[in-house]
């Protein structure tokens, strides 16, 4: 067995290295900003010339921060939606989060074993995800990714059956 995939951290570093050092807007944003500021800017038009460079700088900083945010924040900690489709990383994060409460109800010894194995499973799942990202048209990877997602749902349902259902029944 071997694993020659590029880790997510390395890919991230590559993307950061390729980023532009400054980001300029693609069009002149001032007219729109000016129209919104007009009512209270009417008496301070003389100061516009002095404000304008700082305004451009603010826009650049905001745009750069937005790009950095979108690029650097781990996918699993966000809720990115492309249309109505859930991203694989988001689905993984959500399913693993749903599993956690059921783990808390397991006896300590069993919980330790199962948690370790589920951590391994999540890592495997991440590897499939990364491979699938690098080859989105590879049907083998698509099948494995779907299977990992299905398996996680089965694990969640199984743990719920083994623990939560009984707890709810006691509560009624």
């Amino acid at each position: 067995m071997s694993d020659n995939k590029v880790p997510r951290a390395e890919k991230l570093e590559e993307r950061v290295a390729k980023m532009a050092r400054e980001v300029m807007p693609g069009r002149d944003l001032w007219p729109e900003i000016s129209s919104r500021l007009e009512p209270r800017d009417r008496t301070t038009s003389a100061s516009r010339a002095a404000w304008q460079p700082r305004g451009w700088a603010s826009i650049c900083v905001a745009a750069a921060a937005g790009y950095l945010f979108a690029t650097w924040i781990p996918l699993s900690s966000m809720s990115p939606q492309i249309g109505q489709q859930t991203l694989p990383a988001q689905l993984r994060a959500e399913l693993m989060a749903e599993i956690q409460p059921t783990l808390d109800q397991l006896p300590a010894g069993t919980r330790a074993v199962v948690e370790t194995d589920l951590a391994g499973f999540e890592l495997d799942w991440l590897r499939v995800e990364e491979a699938s990202e690098s080859e989105p048209d590879n049907p083998l990877l698509s099948e494995l990714l779907m299977s990992a997602q299905d398996r996680a749902q089965s694990v969640r349902d199984q743990l719920v059956r083994l623990t939560n259902d009984q707890a709810e029944a006691v509560g009624t």
Binding site: V113, A148, S154
Partner: protein, 322 residues
């Protein structure tokens, strides 16, 4: 650990009692002697439900319309409550509450003999289960205890968090005076699911599903028409004879798949591995994937030949004749 088990067992018992009584209260027979042996008349087929946290449960099917419950209470069990209602028997082994001094020492052992055709439900946290001779359905749930059972004719569902699951098919072995079921195609499905446990199955199985996260799957099976096997980190090892038109599906992420299965020239193969190797004893040559990285082996067999599909990310796939 004991308190966790006790809490779960109490939950299990309460849930089972709630379902059993269906709004009506049925007074249980309470047994708190260290050793006991009781027999109750029971219609056939009926339903027996056993809930116990720890210890060992042994269940045997017999040809009498009675249920016998015997055993010995150990340091983990406070008492046994038996509730019989309209053909359903609930056997609830009540654990010793936290902070309470146990009345007895040693391990708790419960022996149950029940009509063969009745169904069995067993829920436990850490008890071992040894089950034999039950022809009705079996629904077996364990957190960490191991379960070993026999498959006769009724469907079986067994699931665990970390306990091992082992099953053998006894269809070819009739009970004394009983004609064994020769038509394997009529057998019900067996579903075995565990997270960290191992799965073993032996004997003729028509339809078998086995799933783990990290545990290995080891099968020595015959007359198979459907096998569905999946694991993330475990290995899959199968020795099998297949029925015509059988479908075998095996998937892993890191685990290896080893199939001693079918016969040369009479298999339809669809094998793919992203980073692992594909090997076979039939002389077929695997090729680079036609749609990306990885290797694949695709062979079209004769009509109605058994169909084998295997997928792995990093594992190896090896297929040979059975």
């Amino acid at each position: 650990m004991k308190s966790d088990n006790g809490k779960l067992a109490t939950m299990l018992a309460a849930a089972l009692l709630a379902g059993l009584a269906d709004g009506q209260t049925v007074d249980p027979v309470v047994i708190d002697d260290q050793t006991f042996d009781r027999i109750f008349p029971a219609p056939t087929p009926g339903q027996v439900t056993v809930s116990m946290a720890v210890g060992e449960l042994i269940v045997r099917g017999w040809d009498q319309d009675e249920i016998e419950v015997s055993g010995e209470l150990g340091e983990d069990a406070l008492r046994v409550e038996l509730t019989l209602d309209e053909g359903q028997m609930l056997i609830n082994v009540v654990p010793v509450p936290e902070g309470t001094e146990p009345a007895y020492g040693g391990e708790t052992d419960i022996f149950v003999r029940m009509p063969r055709q009745s169904s069995l439900t067993f829920s436990t946290t850490d008890a071992e289960g040894l089950i034999a001779g039950i022809h009705g359905s079996q629904s077996l749930h364990t957190i960490s205890g191991d379960i070993e059972t026999e498959f006769w004719s009724g469907p079986i569902t067994a699931e665990s968090a970390s306990g091992d699951l082992a099953i053998s098919n006894r269809t070819g072995f009739g009970a004394p005076g009983e004609v064994p079921n020769p038509d394997l195609s009529e057998l019900d499905e067996v579903v075995l699911t565990t997270l960290s446990g191992e799965i073993e199955a032996r004997g003729p199985f028509s339809q078998l599903t086995a799933s783990t996260v990290s545990g290995d799957i080891e099968l020595d099976v015959a007359n198979v028409s459907m096998l569905h096997l999946e694991t993330s980190n475990g290995d899959i090892e199968v020795q099998a004879t297949l029925s015509a038109g059988a479908e075998v599906n095996a998937e892993t992420i890191n685990g290896d798949v080893e199939l001693d299965i079918g016969e040369e020239g009479n298999l339809t193969l669809d094998l793919g591995s992203f980073s692992g190797r594909i090997e076979n004893c039939f002389g077929y040559e695997d090729l680079p994937s036609s749609s990306g990285s990885g290797r694949e082996l695709r062979i079209d067999g004769p009509d109605n030949s058994p169909s084998i599909r295997a997928r792995t990310l990093n594992g190896d796939i090896e297929i040979c004749a059975s």
